[in-house]
C-alpha cells in the first residue's frame, strides 16, 4: 500500500509547522516541498487555487488546504496517536481554542509587535486578556490536550517559539512568568518536546525576518 504524502511549506510558516508536528507525532512518512512565497510554484497554485497559500497537504495526489482543516484530516485519515479527544464536547472545546488562537490571539500579539510607544501599550491590553484566557484553560493540565500534546497544543504551538523572538526584537515582556505562570511553563514544556524542538526554524533567520517585517510595517504606517 503506497501512501504518497507531500507537504508544501515555507521555511518559516508557523501554520505549516503544525502539519510537520502532526505528521511526526503520527510517524507518517512524507516529502517536503519548500515554496518561495514571492515565486510560487505551478504545483502549489494548482493544489490550492483558491488561496495559493501554504501549507497544502497532498495525500495520494489529492490536496487539502488550511492548516486546521489539514490537522483534522490527518487525524481522521491516520488513527494512531489521536490529536482530538473522543468526547464530542471536548472536541468542540478543542476546536474553540484553536479558532480563538487564530482569530484573536495571533492578531492581538501581532498588533503589539508592529506598534510602538502609546499605541503598543494600548495593544497590550487585548493581548493580555487573550493570553489570560489561555492561562485559565491550562489549569490542572500540563498541555492543552491534557497529559499529552493534542490538537490545541499544535494550533497554539507558534506561541512557544514566536513570543520569545518577538519579545527580543521589541524589548518587551509579553508572557511574564509571574503573571502567566502556566502559559510560561507550557511554552517551555511544548517548545522542548523532542518532536517540536527539532523542527523550529533557524532562530537568527527568524529574528532578521521579523525585525525587517516590523521595520517595514512601522515605516508604512508613519507615511
Amino acid at each position: 500500500m503506497g501512501e504518497e504524502v507531500k507537504l508544501f511549506r515555507t521555511w518559516s510558516s508557523p501554520f505549516a509547522l503544525r502539519i510537520v508536528w502532526a505528521l511526526r507525532i503520527k510517524a507518517i512518512e512524507y516529502e517536503t516541498v519548500f515554496e518561495d512565497i514571492s515565486n510560487k510554484s505551478p504545483s502549489l497554485l494548482q493544489c490550492n487555487p483558491v488561496h495559493g497559500k501554504v501549507p497544502v497537504l497532498l495525500h495520494n495526489g489529492r490536496p487539502i488546504a488550511e492548516s486546521l482543516v489539514i490537522l483534522e484530516y490527518i487525524d481522521e485519515a491516520w488513527k494512531q496517536a489521536p490529536l482530538l479527544p473522543v468526547d464530542p464536547h471536548e472536541r468542540a472545546m478543542a476546536r474553540f481554542w484553536a479558532k480563538f488562537g487564530d482569530d484573536k490571539v495571533l492578531g492581538s500579539i501581532w498588533s503589539v509587535f508592529i506598534k510602538q510607544g502609546k499605541e503598543q501599550e494600548e495593544a497590550m491590553v487585548p493581548a493580555m486578556e487573550n493570553l489570560k484566557f489561555l492561562e485559565e484553560e491550562l489549569k490542572g493540565k500540563k498541555f492543552f490536550g491534557g497529559d499529552t500534546i493534542g490538537f490545541v497544543d499544535l494550533a497554539l504551538g507558534w506561541l512557544a517559539n514566536l513570543i520569545g523572538l518577538l519579545e527580543e526584537i521589541v524589548g518587551l515582556k509579553v508572557v511574564d512568568g509571574e503573571k502567566l505562570p502556566l502559559l510560561s511553563a507550557w511554552m517551555q514544556e511544548f517548545g522542548d518536546a523532542p518532536i517540536i524542538k527539532d523542527n523550529w526554524p533557524a532562530r537568527d533567520r527568524m529574528i532578521l525576518k521579523f525585525q525587517a517585517l516590523r521595520d517595514a510595517t512601522i515605516a508604512a504606517a508613519s507615511k
Partner: protein
C-alpha cells in the same frame, strides 16, 4: 434520559440560523432564548465569557460556542440522523475548507455593502458577487454543496440568503442576475422545512439592517 438543549440566539443572526437549521435537520426539540445584544444576559456572559456572543448551544448544562463548531458538535452527537458532514475524510476536509472560507469572507463582504455608499459600495458589490461566483463554481451541477444531500457547507451558507434582499435593496443590484445558479440553490434549500422554519423572513432582516444603518449613521 431526555436531553436538555437551550439555544441562546438572536433572530436576524446568520450564525444563529445555521444552528437552528442543524437542530431542525436532526429533528431536535430545544428551548430558544432570544438575547438582547445591547444588554447581554448574565447567562450569555457566563456561557460565553471569551466572546460574549451568540449563538451558544447549551446541552445538558454545557455550553458550545461558535456556529461552525456548534454545527459539527450537533452532527457528532446526533450522528444517526441526517448526517451533515460526509463520511470520507477527504470529502469532510473539502466541506470544512469551504465552510471556513465562507466564514472568513462572506459576512464582512455583505456587511460592507450595507454600510457604504457610492464608489466604495460598488467595489464591495463586485467583491461580493465575485465571491458568490466562486461558490457557484464549487456547487457546479450538484443539487447541494453536499452533493445529492443537504450538508455542512449548505448549512454554513444558506442563512446568508435571508440577507440577500437587504443587500440588493441597500446596494441597488440584483444577485440573481449574476448568480442564477446560487439563487436556484437557495430556493431548493428553502423547500426544506428545516431551512424555511429557521431563516428569518427577508423583510424582517431588511428592517433590522435598516436599523443598523441608522445606528452607524449610514442613512
Amino acid at each position: 434520559m431526555a436531553d436538555e438543549i437551550i439555544l441562546l440566539d438572536f433572530l436576524p443572526s446568520i450564525f444563529g440560523m445555521r444552528v437552528r437549521v442543524a437542530l431542525a435537520e436532526k429533528g431536535l426539540m430545544y428551548e430558544y432564548r432570544e438575547q438582547d445584544l445591547w444588554n447581554k444576559s448574565p447567562l450569555l456572559l457566563e456561557m460565553n465569557p471569551v466572546h460574549k456572543k451568540i449563538p451558544v448551544l447549551i446541552h445538558n448544562g454545557k455550553p458550545i460556542c461558535e456556529s461552525t463548531i456548534i454545527v459539527q458538535y450537533i452532527d457528532e452527537v446526533w450522528k444517526d440522523k441526517s448526517p451533515l458532514l460526509p463520511a470520507d475524510p477527504y470529502e469532510r476536509a473539502q466541506a470544512r475548507f469551504w465552510a471556513d472560507y465562507i466564514d472568513k469572507k462572506l459576512y464582512d463582504l455583505g456587511k460592507k455593502i450595507t454600510l457604504t455608499k457610492g464608489e466604495e459600495q460598488d467595489t464591495r458589490k463586485r467583491e461580493f458577487l465575485d465571491f458568490l461566483k466562486l461558490l457557484e463554481g464549487e456547487l457546479g451541477d450538484k443539487p447541494f454543496f453536499g452533493g445529492e444531500n443537504f450538508g455542512f457547507v449548505d448549512v454554513s451558507l444558506v442563512a446568508f440568503s435571508s440577507r440577500f434582499y437587504a443587500y440588493e435593496s441597500f446596494g441597488n443590484f440584483s444577485i440573481e442576475a449574476e448568480c442564477p445558479k446560487l439563487i436556484a440553490w437557495t430556493k431548493r434549500c428553502m423547500e426544506r422545512e428545516s431551512v424555511s422554519s429557521s431563516l428569518l423572513d427577508p423583510q424582517k432582516v431588511h428592517d433590522f439592517v435598516a436599523g443598523m444603518r441608522r445606528r452607524y449613521g449610514v442613512e
